[in-house]
Every structure is written in C-alpha cells, then in structure tokens.
C-alpha cells in the first residue's frame, strides 16, 4: 500500500513495507537543559564535565531538510547519512537518504547534475559508503532538483538481489517530487 510522506516541499510515495522520516534535525541547543547541563559524551566514561551554558558551539549551523527512507524499521538514533540504520539493516535492506544543502550550494560544480538520479546496479560499490560495512553496497550523487541542492545516498544490504533492490530504490526516487522554494 502506497503511503505518502511529505513536508518541506518534498513529497514521496512510499511503496508497501517502506517507511520514512522527513524533517529538519533539531539543534541540541534547543533542548539544552540549563539546570542540569549537557552531559558531554566522548570516550565512554568521560562524563564528568558539564558544558557551561552559552558554550554549546552550535551557533551558526544551518540544518536542512533530511529524508530517510527504508524497507526496514528505522532506529530512532540515526546519523544523517544513515549510520545506526545501516548497522541494523539486514541483507535485504535498502536505505535511501535524501539530504538537502543550503541554497548557496545550488549552481556549484558539485551539484551541477540536474534532477534525481536513477541508479543502476553497476553504479553501486562496496566502497561508496560513509562507513564500509561488509556486504553492503553504496551509491552517492550530488544533484540539483527544482533549484534545490541535494545529496542522494543509497545503501543496499548485500550484493545478492542488487538488481531488484536497485529497482526498488529507483521506484522510490521516481515517486519523489520536489518543489522549488
């Protein structure tokens, strides 16, 4: 059953068994607890320092719309390029990430390609991954759609069935509509 995920001028028809998240990552500063302070994380166990208020280091960053689509349950804690999700992805899993960049990136050489891509099985590579995970294949393209710069990043769980899964990813991308801002 197709279900539509939409927001921020992006609309995606999700095939059956596919789920998705579409939004803008919230800045940690928005949820900073000034009474208890932030619990800094680094090497586990290094939790003895509390960040001083007003020194959160997030000022100036600009979060952009971000889409995660998958044919498996997406975990809550995900990196923007799908870390966390790809860790629990099975061999039949497909993750499609659609990441928007700031308007200043439109028109640059990196985003010169126009329109959403239609990946082919041969374009997937086990090294085209944010983090190499044995068995997984990745695909990455920077494109501009309706004047908006995006990165399309796809991870497929295994080489087996690469063709059909690439076709599924193509189907998802084909069902993606992006409006100009």
């Amino acid at each position: 059953m197709t279900t539509t995920l939409d927001g921020h001028g992006i609309s995606i028809d999700l095939p059956a068994a596919w789920e998705g998240r579409l939004g803008v990552r919230r800045s940690p500063a928005d949820t900073f607890d000034r009474e208890t302070g932030v619990r800094p994380r680094s090497l586990a166990g290094a939790l003895d320092r509390v960040a001083p208020a007003g020194n959160q280091g997030w000022s100036g960053e600009r979060a952009q719309p971000l889409v995660h689509l998958a044919n498996f349950p997406l975990p809550v804690d995900r990196g923007d390029f799908g870390s966390g999700a790809v860790d629990v992805m099975g061999s039949g899993g497909i993750l499609v990430a659609l990441i928007e960049y700031g308007a200043e990136s439109a028109g640059t050489a990196l985003f010169a390609e126009q329109g959403l891509p239609q990946p082919l099985p041969g374009q997937f590579d086990p090294n085209t991954l944010q983090r190499r995970i044995s068995g997984q294949y990745g695909y990455q393209r920077f494109v501009t759609v309706a004047g908006r710069p995006f990165c399309v990043y796809i991870v497929i769980g295994s080489a087996a069935g690469l063709g059909p899964r690439t076709a599924q990813a193509r189907e998802v991308l084909a069902g993606t509509r992006i409006e100009s801002r």
């Binding site: 990552r25 800045s27 940690p28 302070g37 932030v38 619990r39 800094p40 994380r41 680094s42 090497l43 586990a44 166990g45 290094a46 939790l47 320092r49 509390v50 960040a51 001083p52 020194n55 959160q56 280091g57 997030w58 000022s59 100036g60 960053e61 600009r62 979060a63 952009q64 804690d77 990196g79 923007d80 390029f81 870390s83 966390g84 990441i99 960049y101 700031g102 200043e104 990136s105 640059t108 050489a109 990196l110 985003f111 010169a112 590579d125 090294n127 085209t128 991954l129 944010q130 983090r131 190499r132 995970i133 044995s134 990745g138 990455q140 920077f142 990165c151």
Partner: protein, 557 residues
Amino acid sequence: MTTLSERIVEKIAIGWRAGSSRRSFLSGAAVVGTALASNPWRYLTRPMTAYASVCGEGAACNEGWSAFCCTVTGANQCPPGSFVAGWWKADQSGFCCGSARYYVDCNAACGSDWTCHCASGSCDQRRVACNQFRYGQCHQEIACYGPVVCRVVTCTPPWIFDDSCTATSLTDNRTVTHSAPCLPGNCPSTITQYYYDHGGPGGTFGPATSAERAGADGGRFAAFSSGVLYTTSGGGVRALTGTVFTRYKAAGGPTGALGYPTGVPTAVTGGLAVPFQHGSIYRGANGKSYSVSGAVGEKWRAIGKLGSGLGLPIAQSLKTSDGNIRQKFTGGAIFISPAHGAHVVKGSIFRKWIDLGGSGGVLGVPIADQAVRAGFQATKFTKGTIYSAEATGTRAVTGTLYTAYRAAGGTGGALGLPVEDEVRTPGGSRSQRFQRGGLFWTAHSGSHPLTGVYWAKWRAIKGTVSGLGFPTSGQVSPRKGQTRITFTHGAMYHSAATGVHYLTGRLHQEYARLGGSVGSLGLPTSDPVTSGSKITVTFVHGSLVLDTTTNTIVRKS
C-alpha cells in the same frame, strides 16, 4: 649486544604471552599507559581493551570508518593530494567540553595517488583512502573527488575553520567516541584546541617544547618548536610565529627580557605590534622583527611608543664599547648614555646627526629629547645642537661656533636660526650662516658674529671673495655714532650718515695709518671703486687712490 634492560623486557614479553616480541610488548605497554593516562577510571573499571579506551569505538580497519589524518601523517590537517571536502558533527562531545565536535573529511583529489589501506602504528587502524564518500559542504567548486583519505577533528565550527565550508549541518553522533592517540583528550584547553586546529604536533606549530602553564594577567601560555600560543584575560588564543617568534625565542622567551605576551598582536602603521610584560616586538613591512625592551623600552613607553612618531624599530638595541645603548627606528633612535640618560633623536634631526657621525661625530651624544619651539625643533647634544625648521632646513651648530652662537643669544638672538651647516676653509677657519647673520671663527682671533648692516654688507660684497676675510673683532665704536669691525684683511665702518663701507689691503693700511675713522679723512663714504689700474675710496674729508701698477696711494682732498 643487547642491554640489560632490553633483555629484561624481552623476558617479560616472553613470559607475558608466548610469541610476543619485545616490540609488541612495549607497544602494548605504551597503549596501556596511554589508556591509563587518558581515561584511567574507565580503563580500570570497565571490561575494555586499552585500544578502545584511547581510540574509541570502531577503531579497527574492518569496522569501516576512515582514519584520522594525524594517524596518517602526524598532522591534524588534510595531507597533500587531498582537500577539505565536507564535515559532520557529533553533539555534546566531551572532547569539546560539551560542545559539538566536528569531523572534517579530506577527500583525495582526482589524480592523486592515494591508495586504500589500513592505518597502522597506533590503535587508530581505520581506513585510509578507501571510502568513496563525501559529505559535500566544502569546496563545492570541486566536483571530482576520490575517497576519504582521512579526517581532521576540531571544536571550531568548520565554516570558521575553513572558509570553503558552508554551515549546512550534518550530524552523526555515533562517531562521538572516535579518537586517536595523536589527538587531544577530553575537554582540552583552548590553547590545545587551537594547536590541534592548526595541525597539532605535525602542523603549524610543531611539537610542544614546554607544557602549557600560567602566563601573564591570568592568561595561559604554551611553547612549541615553531611558535607560541597564549591567551590573555580578554580571551581568545593568540599565536606568535615566524620572525616574531624567532625574535621572542632569541630574547629568551618568557624567562627572558620580554616576559610573557600580554595582549593581542595588533596591526600598526607599517607592521605588527605584539605586547609583552616587559616590552614589545614589532614586525615591519619587510617581515623582520625587533624587540624593544629594557632601558630603551622604558624610554619607548615614556614617550608614547608609536605615538611618539619614532616609527617601528629597524634594529635590535646595541650596546657600544663606551657604555652607550642605542636602538634605531624608522624615524629616529633612542640613545642612552651613562652620563646623560635616555633621549630620543628623530626625524630630520636624527638623519643629520647620523650624517655628522652620530654619537662619535662632531655633535656627541644627545643630552635632551627633541624640543619643539615656535617655528622650529631642536635637539641638544654634548657638543652642539641640531635645529630644524621648514624655512631653514635642518642644521647643526657645533663646537666653537656653537659656543659663540649661544653667546650671541642662540635662536633668540640677533643671528636667528642657522640656514646652512658649518663651512670650513682649507686653512681651518669656520663660518656658518644664520637667518640674520653669520658666525666666523679663526684660530687666530676666535669666533665673531656678523649681523645687521655688517652682515648685509658682507653678503653684498661676497665676504671673503671681496678680500676682507673673516671678522677678527666684534663690533667696536671708536666714536659716538660710528662703529667698526675689523677683518683679516680690512675693516668695515658704519655710521647713520655714511652707511657701511669697507676697505681692504693697502688702502685699509693707509687709512689706519691716517687715524682711521677718527682721523682726518673721517668715515668712508664709498666702497673701493676700481677704475682701470686705480682703486679709489672716498671719505667724508677726502679720498684715497691706489695705483695698482705702482702700488702707490695718493690722498686727495
């Protein structure tokens, strides 16, 4: 031949784990030591390897992450053949004291020869130049890219860290524990953060040469092989590198003459100024740096430093064998003598002083700072003074002429300001012109001024050219209403009725023999007039005619 200590380590390694080499034992011990140093409680109380305690999660090559650049090259910077290609952050990182920690990917440039391999040499054994992936916020003008060679970490937002990066924020909190032995530990000081932002030990500042410590005014200070970093009470990290650092190092660093840096390096006219506890270092437009400190520095502060108009130093202070200290600046010098203290000589007066031999020349050493008077400036030296005015230029008055000048009232007297430097004749006589007169000195008769009508006459008849020579007396009054000045070869006479006239040679001798201005001829009423072979001078009561062919003088009534 192995040493005893090597044999002991070898035995321990063998006993520790069969097959372990001495090297692996030491390597393991080093990692354990690092783990204990960086995170002792965690390492001792949690079931984890020392590697995991230092390098965080996902440190093995087969876990798929990219290595840190400092592991690959020793510097927390993108290595040659790669470029800053994108970034992400991990929020609330202890590595950055609770702020976001940023990971900047260095992707291989197309055409570079990076090949995929696993990092080695430490517990950061992540992948090098393997992951064909890009975050994409930086150098978006570069469309062609290779794999991620390695990653740089910083607590500074990447859009500030590198101008090519945009602020489009991407996050991956799963990398929050990733680290390497070559990176700073938890919540480093601002100086350490700055240091690693510039590459760390393999970067701009090189390895540390001393531990970070308290600096001046509540700030912090750390020294490295190629620079120093410091903070001030005003906040922010400042760096001293290049010739400023070289000069600081030569001056003994924080324990030397300058002490700790105290403020922000500031652009000044013609260069850069860096303040220290006991002085300053200035870098000129030519890139050379010099310090100002000690007694010269005290004088420098007293006169208002750059506000004094001296400009930037162009040499280090120099102590001469006679105990004097001098330091040159673009617009002058500070000169200190044991007898007369520290004084400033600047501008055209300084140049004149140098032209005249400086402290070893005719003027000697300065005994006062430059005085500014109405219409002119002057600096006094032990043997004279240099005067500078727009109308008269910069002139020195020295020696016996200077003594006579002062006796004649100096700049406030009849002579006014000097308009030329002293002139010496081959015979040793000296003269100098002033605004309203001249000073003349001979060994025989000493110094005498010419002013007023006599000066005007002397100039009109071209002085020494006329045959008069230098004055040998001051102005005398043989009789009321008339005055006279004698010269080497004649004299000038003046009265209100007759004006000023001169006589020279035989005519002057004959006139003197006849009683001069108080004799029967009275005062001259003309200068010598030449007509053919005869030279005639008329007087109130007659005239004298010199026939140059016979050298005879005839008096006419």
